[in-house]
Each structure stands twice: as C-alpha cells, then as structure tokens.
C-alpha cells in the first residue's frame, strides 16, 4: 500500500460546485503534489463552492491538516465557500480548531534594500543617534555620581565590594601573563636597535618609560575591556531580558544608581591598582630579556631607577582612571540598551568590547597629545 501516493483530484461538477477528492496515505514522507497546482486549477473554473471529500483517505498526520488549512485560507481569500465531508474525525476537529481564530494580519514593513544601509545619510543618522544616546547616558551617570557624593543615592556598598573583588583579584592571573610578555616584547624591540650603538643598557630606560606611560595601562585596559566590560554588558543585558531592570525602575530606584554606579566605581578603584601591578611586572619582564643579553640585574635596576620619574607614573595612573570610566560606560551603556533576547545580549557584549577599545585608543592618543603639549 505504501507505493500508493497521496493524491487529490479536482472535478468541477457544474458551474458553481467543485469537488476535491483526497486519496491515499497523507503522512510525512509521502510524495505530494504541489498546492500551487491545485490553486491554479481552482482558478480555471468559475466555482464558488468547494467540497473536500476524504472518504478515500488512508493514514494521515499533520501533512493533511496543513494542506486542508491552506485550502481553507485560499478559499476564504478567493471568496469560495469551503466544506468538507467524510474526513477522519480527528482531522476534521483539528481543522475546525485551526480555523477558529482568523489569521492575524501583519502590516507589511517596507522592505529595505541592503544598499540602503550603505546610504551615508543613514549611516550619519545612526552614528548621531549613538552619540546622542551615549551622551545621555554619560549625563545620567554624572547626575547619579553627584547624588552619591551628597549621600542621596541608592547605591549598595555590598554590590560595589563584590564588583571590586570580581574585577580585581580575579584578573591578576591574566594581567600577570600579559604584562610580563609585553615587557619582554618591548625589551627585545629596543635591545636590537640599541645594540647597534652599543647602548644596550638603555633598554632599561626604554622599558620603564614605555611600560609606565603607555603599555602597562593600555594592556590592562584591553584585558579589562574584554573581561569586565563584556561581563557588565552581559549581566545588564540579561537583567533587561528578565525584566529585572523594569522591576528596579518600578520600585522607584534609578537603575543607573543601583546597577551602573557600583560597577563604574569598582572599575575606577581597581584599575589603577592593576595598572601599578602590571607596571611592576612589565619592568621585571624587560629585565629577564635584558639579563639574556648580558646586562646584569644590578645594572638593569639602577638604570631603570634613573628613568623612573614621578610624572611617568602619574601619566599612567591618570590614564588608568580615564580608561576605567570609558570601559564601564561602554559596557553598562551597551547592557542597559540591550534588546530582550539571547542574541541581543550577545550583541550587547560585542558592542561593549568594540566601543570600549575604540574609546581607549582615541583617549590614549588624546592624552598623549596633551602631555606632549604641556611637556609633562
């Protein structure tokens, strides 16, 4: 029997009536004629009434009811009355259930051509939107900080402590690895050049100044953007999805005070400390390479000490505070504006890292230019 395939036959019995006879097994995997062939046949005639006869049907499953529903919808659109007879009882009931509620009509969205997304005006509009939103967010954060300063804020110290712990001690491992390696890279880079002048010992100066002013803080910031910034975005995005942020808002608490400020402050407190730690290890990393090139540890240390000036250290620390603010703002903003689905939370985390890194590099360039102008 399985060779028999699911079939239908349309007969126009007279001008107004058509009879559709279904036969064979209508189950998953049966080879089924296309529905469009039926609809075109139906249009050839002048029928205003269609009867479906299921007397010759064998087994059936969703395939049958899906087909019948298509017939029904097609007929109601074309103004043809639809009736059934001798359908299996279950199928008739399911069809009745499926047609009980009229379909919801979606007002068609004007489809956008993909080229439209490259329109410079649209792009400009989007970045202007992004900029406006970010400024608004920075404004909210500033207001919340002022409220915190005058002691009228709903920020919980407990949260702040927790974020300090997560952002600080737990990041030490990866910061150790990256900063030692960056110190070594700097030393290699410098040593090869300085050797040509027989001035290898100045590697210590290069590494110390390079790490303190630039590389120590920048590498720490990149690690924190990927680690903590993305985590903030994912946490807040998930809270958005679970309506936790709605709950906080309706409790009369500002989500910025309650969620953003503790994260931001934690990062601002932790980043300078991590930077100091990274600076120290970077210089040690440079020393390892220098040792390999025949510079004794004592030479290296005394040379490094002579290069170590308070302003180099200060530049690095100021940068670390600025970078911490930028990472926290980028992460929290992306999280707070996240959409309400798992994919949107992923997008928010990506956006947090990408914007944070762009901010970092722009800010770094800016600070360097200022320092150069004021000879700091």
């Amino acid at each position: 029997m399985t060779e028999q395939h699911a079939g239908f036959q349309l007969v126009h019995s007279n001008d107004t009536d058509a009879l559709l006879t279904l036969s064979g097994p209508w189950v998953q995997g049966c080879d089924l004629e296309d529905f469009s062939s039926l609809s075109s046949q139906l249009h050839l005639g002048t029928s205003t009434h269609l009867t479906v006869d299921g007397a010759a049907l064998q087994e059936w499953d969703s395939t049958l009811v899906a087909f019948l529903l298509q017939c029904f919808n097609h007929c109601s659109e074309a103004g043809i009355t639809f009736a059934t007879r001798d359908l299996p009882a279950g199928a008739a009931k399911l069809l009745a259930l499926a047609t009980a509620v009229p379909p919801h009509r979606l007002e068609p969205e004007s489809p956008q051509h993909w080229l439209a997304s490259l329109n410079p005006m649209v792009l400009l509009d989007k970045s202007a939107d992004f900029f406006r939103q970010s400024l608004g967010f920075v404004g909210e954060v500033s207001v919340a900080l002022v409220k915190l300063a005058v002691g009228k804020s709903n920020t919980r110290f407990e949260d702040f402590r927790q974020f300090c712990y997560e952002g600080g001690p737990r990041a030490l491992g990866i910061i150790t690895l990256t900063s030692v390696l960056v110190g070594m890279i700097l030393a290699y880079l410098g040593a090869v050049q300085l050797q040509q002048f027989g001035a290898e010992v100045y590697v210590a100066n290069l590494v110390t100044i390079g790490i303190l002013r630039e590389m120590g803080v920048l590498m720490t910031a990149v690690v924190m953007a990927g680690r903590t910034g993305a985590a903030y975005a994912a946490q807040l995005g998930t809270m958005q999805t679970n309506q936790e942020i709605d709950a906080i808002t309706t409790m009369g608490i500002s989500p910025v005070e309650f969620l953003v400020i503790p994260r931001l402050l934690a990062l601002v407190v932790v980043m300078p400390m991590l930077t100091l730690y990274a600076d120290l290890l970077g210089i040690v990393g440079g020393g390892i390479v220098a040792g390999g090139m025949g510079i004794t540890p004592l030479q290296y240390i005394s040379q490094a000490e002579s290069a170590l000036a308070i302003n180099h250290l200060l530049v690095g620390l100021i940068k670390s505070v600025v970078f911490a603010l930028l990472i926290a703002v980028a992460g929290c903003r992306a999280g707070m504006n996240s959409g309400r689905s798992s994919a949107a939370v992923g997008q928010a985390a990506t956006e947090a890292v990408v914007t944070a890194i762009v901010y970092l590099i722009v800010a770094d360039a800016g600070i360097n230019i200022i320092c150069q102008q004021i000879r700091f």
């Binding site: 199928a91 499926a98 009229p102 979606l106 994919a343």
Partner: protein, 267 residues
C-alpha cells in the same frame, strides 16, 4: 473513556526524588494509561516540577524506575532515550521559547531536526500548528513581542510540532486570565482527543483539573509522598485524605461550601 481496557503507557514505581541529601518525595507509585490526561497536583514547592523533570530524564532518581511502554527509561542507553524523547512534546514552566528566534523558527526547529519535510512543507506545517493554537499570522513575531498567554500557546505549538505521543506540560495555564486559561484547556483537550496523545501536566488550576483531567496524583509536602491517586472529580468528594479534599475544594475547610466550589469549578 475506555479507562479499564486502556494499556499502561507510563509506569512510575518506587520513585524517590532527592536533591543531594534533601529527599523531596519517596515511594511514588502510579500508572499513566495511554490517552490519559494525567495531572500532578500538590501545594507549591512539593516537588511537582521535580517529578516532571524526573519523568523527562533531566534528573536521575535516587531510587526507583520509570518505564515508558514497558521499557525502563532510567536504565536506558543514551540512544534509546533520544529515540523515546523524540516522540514527546514538552512545555516548560518558564516558557522555554528561544528568544532569538521568531515563533515560526521556534516551531520549525524540531521539524527541521527530525523530519525530512522540505522547506515549503515546513512553512505550511508551521502555519498550521500556529493556527491550531490561535496564533495564525504571528509567524514573524519574536517571543518578546507577544503576551504571556500567547507565549504559552506558542510553546504548545512547538511541543506539538512533531505530533508527539506524549505531551508534558508544566503549569500550562498558570498566570493566565480565566478565559485564556479555559481556551488553553480546551485546546489541550481537543488536541489530545484528535491525536490520542497521552498528556501529563502539572497544574493547580482547579478549573482545568476538573475540566480535562481523568487521572491524577497528589503529592504531599508534609509527609513527602503521594497521598492520593485517581480521577480528580472523584477525589474531590471521596478522597480519604482531608488535605486532598480541601485542595480540590479551593482550600475551604467546611463541607458546606463543597457544592458551591463544585459549581464554580465546573463553570
């Protein structure tokens, strides 16, 4: 209903459920017959969802066995479990719709995974399943864009995508208004009736318990075991356990209000 002649579909024997050393329920023994609408009842936190998770194989029991059509599920190999699960449809207490997919994609996923329908056929079947739960035309909506009642129904549409033999629902009508809840009950009953599936559901909506269930088990939190088992409409008046009668009579202590509760339960 041809209850007496119906065959055993699910058999839970000597089941003890525990989280670590915290024993939730012990010595559960009951049978779900093919075509039953079986309700797991009990107060909040007594372990109804946990029992369902045991039946689904998401948690393994501390002791005892669960068999489907005579085959042990607890001791089955992974491949056997996969094959058994393929014939199930499940909705979870918190929805479980994939938030990053539209309703159509949610319903289409099991069809794409487990059938050899072409993409056109899948589209038609998805349209039919959504129409069945009254969501025709909502194909391109995301779960976050529809109401709570609609997402319960969308989850139902996904559960019935593969024409399952057993449907498991965890509190399908909780949190819905009485009318939507009633419609959902009717829908479950109609689907059960026309496909002959076995339905196992957790519920404490009395209206739906009396409307659709023909068998039930009551889990008691205090004694940590099942204290009654049978047709809820019968248990309401004839249970030997006062707690069960009280539960089924909307928590009223006096028996005078029984008749009234019955009437409102049947409305």
């Amino acid at each position: 209903m041809t209850q007496a002649s119906a065959e055993t579909h699910i058999d839970v024997s000597d089941l003890t459920m525990a989280y670590g050393s915290f024993v939730l329920q012990r010595d559960l023994n009951f049978v779900v017959r093919r075509g039953d609408i079986f309700v797991i009842m009990g107060g909040s936190g007594c372990g109804k969802s946990t029992l369902l998770k045991h039946m689904l194989g998401l948690i393994s029991p501390a002791r005892g066995d669960i068999t489907y059509s005579g085959q042990s599920f607890v001791h089955a190999s992974d491949a056997q479990r996969e094959a058994t699960r393929r014939r199930w449809g499940i909705t979870y207490q918190t929805g479980g719709l994939f938030s990053a997919m539209t309703l159509a994609e949610n319903v289409a996923l099991p069809l794409q995974l487990y059938t050899n329908y072409g993409s056109g056929e899948i589209r038609d079947i998805v349209a039919y399943k959504l129409a069945l739960v009254g969501l025709a035309g909502y194909q391109d909506y995301y779960p976050s864009e529809i109401s709570g009642g609609m997402s319960k129904r969308a989850a139902l549409a996904r559960a019935i995508a593969l024409d399952p033999e057993i449907l498991f629902f965890d509190e399908p009508s909780a949190g819905l208004d009485p009318i939507s809840s009633r419609l959902l009950d009717d829908l479950i009953m109609e689907i059960q009736d026309s496909t002959g599936a076995t339905v196992v559901m957790v519920s404490h909506e009395l209206a739906s318990i009396f409307n659709i269930a023909n068998n039930s088990v009551y889990l008691d939190a205090a004694s940590r075991t099942m204290i009654d088992y049978g047709d809820p409409a019968y248990l309401r008046d004839h249970s030997k356990q006062a707690v069960v009668r009280q539960f089924l009579n909307r928590g009223s202590r006096t028996d005078e209000s029984t008749a009234q509760a019955q009437r409102s339960g049947n409305e």
